[in-house]
């Protein structure tokens, strides 16, 4: 249902959002690109000479980069593994007939709505602190030595915190997907003599594959940019043990004021994210057909 008049009008209505998003994307991105090719440090005024790919060279050969890259990898895969497995389990559980299902849902979903800085601080101080934290008290009560989470396993501690925050998201999406499963398939399987495990592996899991893919891709996009939790707990340390690429670029740009180097890093991060985004776009495109 379109006439030239409604189409012109539609174009005008689209204009503000398109222009704004175009501006938001292109202008700063071009600036980052420009900065990545110059030698520019905010503490050294006036210096801005063109240095070609030098910034990239420094950034990519810095051992901090390698450590951050793998940290990012561990972070993302660790959180994905915990949230997807936990999410599937929770989704199956919440799909069952249980008393007080609404209250269970409230409790399971709550972590997703807690702001990251609060999550991080509560976990770090009140739960994981090796002297005064709850886990320490619990360990002592059992006769064990308390774990100093952030000293002994900084990255893993962050993985725990972020997984706690994202588990509800995965559970909710997967629960929605499970509830769209045609009950009759399961009943037919019952008649065919399938037990609960067979039903799960041969019917439920394949049905969930699309939702799981979506959760993986969507979480990955967000997990690449984990920031607040690191800032507030370890500041990336000890050393670079809990620094991911996002945090590394942050320290270079705003703590070391190395605009050139930070910009090169920013471009690298964009390239990595683009690769993930291409897959996500294909998924969304398929969904838009339906």
């Amino acid at each position: 249902m379109a006439t030239t008049q409604s189409r012109t009008l539609a174009r005008m209505m689209l204009f503000p959002s398109v222009i704004l998003l175009l501006g938001w994307m292109i202008v700063p991105l071009c600036m980052t690109l420009y900065f990545s090719f110059v030698d520019y440090n905010l503490l050294i005024p006036g210096e801005r000479e063109f240095v070609g790919f030098l910034n990239y060279e420094f950034f990519l050969t810095d051992p901090a980069f390698f450590e951050s890259f793998f940290n990012t990898l561990y972070l993302v895969t660790g959180v994905l593994a915990i949230t997807i497995c936990g999410g599937i389990g929770l989704a199956v559980l919440l799909d069952q007939a249980i008393w007080g299902r609404n209250y269970v849902r409230i409790m399971v979903l709550a972590p997703f709505f807690v702001m990251p800085t609060v999550s991080a601080l509560v976990w770090k101080n009140m739960l994981m602190n090796p002297v005064n934290g709850l886990f320490a008290h619990f360990a002592l009560w059992l006769g064990l030595d308390p774990i100093d989470f952030f000293a002994q396993m900084p990255l893993f501690s962050i993985i725990i915190i972020v997984s706690w925050q994202w588990l509800p998201f995965a559970a909710l999406i997967l629960l929605t997907a499970i509830q769209s499963l045609d009950r009759e398939q399961l009943e037919a399987a019952d008649l065919d003599g399938a037990g609960p495990f067979s039903k799960f592996f041969y019917i439920v899991l394949p049905h969930l594959s699309r939702a799981v893919t979506a959760v993986i891709l969507i979480e990955t996009i967000f997990l690449l940019s984990i920031f607040a939790e690191i800032l507030v707990t370890t500041s990336g340390g000890p050393g670079y043990a809990s620094t991911n690429i996002t945090y590394l670029i942050y320290t270079q740009s705003l703590l070391q004021f190395d605009v050139g180097g930070g910009s090169a890093g920013g471009i690298v991060a964009v390239i990595i994210a683009n690769i993930v985004a291409i897959f996500l776009m294909r998924l969304i495109g398929k969904n838009l057909e339906g």
């Binding site: 249902m1 379109a2 539609a10 209505m13 689209l14 959002s17 398109v18 704004l20 998003l21 994307m25 700063p28 600036m31 980052t32 900065f35 929770l90 559980l93 069952q96 249980i98 409230i106 409790m107 709550a110 709505f113 807690v114 702001m115 990251p116 800085t117 609060v118 601080l121 509560v122 976990w123 770090k124 101080n125 009140m126 909710l172 999406i173 997907a177 769209s180 699309r210 979506a214 969507i218 996009i221 940019s225 607040a228 800032l231 942050y250 740009s253 705003l254 930070g262 991060a269 964009v270 994210a273 985004a277 996500l280 776009m281 998924l283 969304i284 495109g285 969904n287 838009l288 339906g290």
Partner: protein
């Protein structure tokens, strides 16, 4: 009385569900409880769940002795402001994509969503420098602008899905009835789409309230919302668990409540159509 197997499994599942969800919820519960303890009680080696002297002193302390309310207000202004501003830009865009479909509509929508996937560090430096040069650093206005831009794709996407559920013929009928485009949107589209618009607003208020990248980097004492202000409780000299809990409780309870009402919207807005 024989317990049927379905009843037995219901009992088992219920126990499992409550146990697991209780463990998941526990950190939040613990925070809420600790907010009513004294500091000494909060770090006690024998932590108590209920049996302690409840006190409101932490809340009084946080509200009286720190600019907590200012930062709370900053959060409100930034989340609400960016969501309302976003709506004003997103509603017309979603209208045109939902009701005047062209071959390019799908691609345009996907492009918009792709801007959300840009890693913030990719534009960290330019945004920081631009904000510095335009005196937008540490201002509520600056943050409203950023929040609007980063959530605009999601708003357009969500509104698009809601608008698509409205039969186009109703809008055509209003056109035949002599309505101008403004009257069509104001008298017909908006009232019908109101639940969808409210849902979009709700989800975006939540996302903006909890945003923890730009709010931490672009603000200081003046415009810091709660996300940034709470971070100041992380300094090692402050082992003030009880106060941390009180400050945290006030920061998260509003969104926990809003979040409970926004489950469906969460699925619609953030799963990008993968599940229905």
């Amino acid at each position: 009385m024989a317990i049927t197997s379905t009843k037995k499994s219901k009992i088992i599942y219920t126990l499992a569900a409550w146990t697991i969800s209780g463990m998941i919820f526990f950190p939040i519960l613990w925070t809420l409880i600790t907010s009513f303890k004294t500091e000494a009680e909060a770090i006690s080696a024998t932590p108590a769940l209920f049996a302690f002297d409840w006190t409101l002193e932490n809340y009084k302390d946080v509200l009286a002795r720190s600019p907590y309310f200012d930062h709370f207000w900053n959060s409100v202004v930034i989340s609400l402001g960016s969501s309302l501003l976003g709506l004003m830009i997103a509603v017309p865009a979603a209208w045109s994509m939902a009701f005047v479909q062209t071959k390019k509509t799908k691609n345009l929508l996907m492009w918009m969503l792709s801007t959300k996937m840009l890693p913030p560090v990719g534009v960290l430096i330019p945004i920081y420098l631009l904000f510095r040069d335009f005196a937008l650093l540490d201002t509520k206005l600056g943050l409203v602008i950023v929040m609007t831009l980063i959530n605009l794709p999601i708003m357009v996407w969500m509104l698009y899905t809601y608008f698509r559920e409205i039969p186009g013929e109703i809008l055509e009928a209003s056109r035949m009835d002599g309505a101008t485009i403004g009257e069509e949107i104001f008298h017909v589209l908006l009232p019908i789409a109101l639940p969808g618009i409210a849902s979009t607003l709700l989800l975006n208020v939540i996302l903006a309230w909890n945003e923890a990248f730009w709010t931490l980097i672009l603000t200081a004492a003046n415009a810091a919302p709660l996300t940034a202000f709470i971070a100041s409780y992380s300094s090692p000299e402050g082992l003030f668990y009880a106060k941390l809990s009180a400050a945290s409780a006030m920061a998260i309870v509003p969104i926990l409540i809003l979040g409970w009402f926004s489950q469906k919207q969460l699925v619609r807005g953030l799963s990008f159509g993968a599940v229905k």
